[in-house]
């Protein structure tokens, strides 16, 4: 919802691009009735853009309300493609080669990414929200994004939470540790492909299926321990 006095996303985009050359801002339309369109930032210029949004007198987005992560896993897309291929036909005892157009279903994998969303408001001008987004290159080894905590302190705990639950590494964050899970925890539970370990949920109670499952788990655990001591 656009509040009175706030510029449209197009105007904000133009203002950013005038102030930060080569910022590469992209508008992400939102088709829901809320019509809260967002701006996708190039991570390389994010800090400069953030400072501009905070310090610009017309925008004065001094209040970063909400920071959150989204996981977009790799998506398998099936497409129908028309291919021309040679076909050998036998007719009248003679082999003939002809070209024929056939429809083929091809699968390709759209690479996934992790996305971080920032909701900005202005306390001074009482308008908002302006929504910023940033994407990582992939979900595995290139998951760095610049931290906006140096610009808005309210991102401190929220970026720690995104790091903890999604695994986005915020460069320039002053104190990047896990927030909710314990330090020795390995995985990122909010990712879509996270698998819950079998021994967290199930207390061995007097139910056959659960007992069998616990026994299997413990057997596997003991073999591992045995290997470790050798």
């Amino acid at each position: 919802m656009r509040e009175k006095g706030l510029k449209t996303v197009e105007e904000i985009k133009a203002a950013i691009e005038a102030a930060v050359p080569g910022a590469g801002v992209e508008i992400v339309p939102n088709s829901s009735p809320s019509a809260q369109h967002s701006l996708r930032l190039d991570p390389r210029h994010a800090a400069a853009v953030a400072r501009f949004l905070r310090d610009n007198e017309d925008l004065a987005l001094d209040f970063l309300s909400n920071v959150t992560g989204i996981d977009w896993p790799d998506k398998e897309v099936a497409e129908k493609v028309k291919v021309i291929r040679p076909v050998t036909k036998k007719g009248d005892g003679v082999e003939q080669t002809a070209e024929e157009t056939v429809e083929e279903t091809r699968k390709r994998v759209e690479p996934g990414c992790l996305e971080v969303v920032y909701h900005l408001f202005s306390v001074a001008k009482k308008h908002g929200p302006v929504v910023l987004r940033m994407r990582t290159v992939n979900r595995t080894d290139q998951v760095e994004l610049p931290s906006l905590t140096p610009v808005w302190r309210s991102a401190e705990f929220q970026e720690r939470e995104v790091f903890d639950l999604y695994g986005v590494v915020f460069t320039g964050h002053p104190d990047l540790r896990r927030l909710l899970m314990w330090d020795a925890f390995k995985d990122h539970p909010m990712r879509r492909d996270y698998v819950e370990p079998d021994d967290f949920e199930y207390e061995p109670t007097a139910h056959d299926a659960v007992l069998a499952r616990a026994a299997a788990h413990q057997a596997a655990h003991q073999t591992q321990e045995g290997k470790g001591s050798e």
């Binding site: 919802m1 509040e3 939102n30 088709s31 829901s32 009735p33 809320s34 809260q36 001094d62 209040f63 970063l64 309300s65 909400n66 959150t68 989204i70 969303v117 909701h119 306390v123 009482k126 929200p129 929504v131 905590t149 140096p150 808005w152 302190r153 309210s154 991102a155 401190e156 705990f157 929220q158 639950l165 002053p174 896990r178 927030l179 909710l180 899970m181 314990w182 539970p189 909010m190």
Partner: protein
Amino acid sequence: MTTPGLARRKSKLDDWNRPPVILPSGDGELLEVAMGPHHPSTHGVFRMDVALDGERVIRLKPVFGYLHRNHEKIAEGISYLGSMPYTDRLDYICPLTNNWAYALAVEKLTGQEVPERAEYLRVILGELTRIQNHASSIGFLIQEMGASGTPLMYAFREREKILDLFEALTGARMMCNYMRFGGCRVDATPAWLDATRKVVVGLPAFVDEFEQLLRSNEILMARTQGVGILPPQLAVNAGVTGPMLRASGVNYDIRKVDSYGIYNRFNFRVPLGDHWDVYDRFMIRMLEMRESIKILEQALKEIPGGPVMDPKAKIRGFRPKPGEAYGRIEAPKGELGFYLISDGGTNPYRYRVRPPSLINLTVLEDMCLGSDIADVVLIFGSVDIVLGEVDR
């Protein structure tokens, strides 16, 4: 003794970004104390790792997660309606405002309308929630200062009357599960509205009596005035919201700024603090209770008849169009927001709670540094958190 907060009153915004470094006096030997997770003042399971130089706090690191159950992940696996009862368990002191924030976000996502009577009921329940939250939080403050029992029971006596109203209307004292997308679950009977009017008539006398505790108790004033200073620049930059932000003198109340629901119809004021300390935070809550009573009086007078649910609204099994929405309300503890992404399915693709309790704790270290360990309990109490919402 001047706290670092006062000394930093006039410095530039970027200097606010980290808590100041305080050097220990004397031989520099520090005592590290883990306050919590079972410390009685933490209202739940929460730990502060404090480094002390004598009695002075040199470093304070909050540790979260003892009550973490990944509420957001659970919500992504169930339908939109299925999350409604879970929102009660976020800030379990104020279930109805949690319901309201979630309903508001879903209504923004789907574009549903809310009937007028339902809007009035939401305002009445939201303000009753605010009164009982503020009353108990002030009661807890006095309890933590050592006045064991009696003042807290004053607050709880009044809270009980309000919880009885919640029970009569929704069936539950605390886990109300009352609001729906496009309205409210059940209508209020005329008898319930009369009972509410009776409770509201009695509230000003309670606030007068309760305010005497804050206004006339010398020990309380000596221990809270000038303690835990939070300057407005830091408060805004650190995303602090609610009574804490207004106690730092920043005029930002989402009921006025967004006028969500029908708040623009009511005549009420936004109290602001000018000393930015623990005392102001509690005085602001006291004054907000008076403003809430004003809103309740107006709402109970003007409430119209009609349905409480939009007859066209689909509650179960609906599929919002792909898109996203962020909805927020002024909950008693601050800005409570819900951010939802729909991919066209019956479950939200992404469900995010913006917890005011967690984000208000960002400045806990800044407020506590340089003060005595005994004041940490009061400063922490003045933030007014609920661990169900901090850890989610």
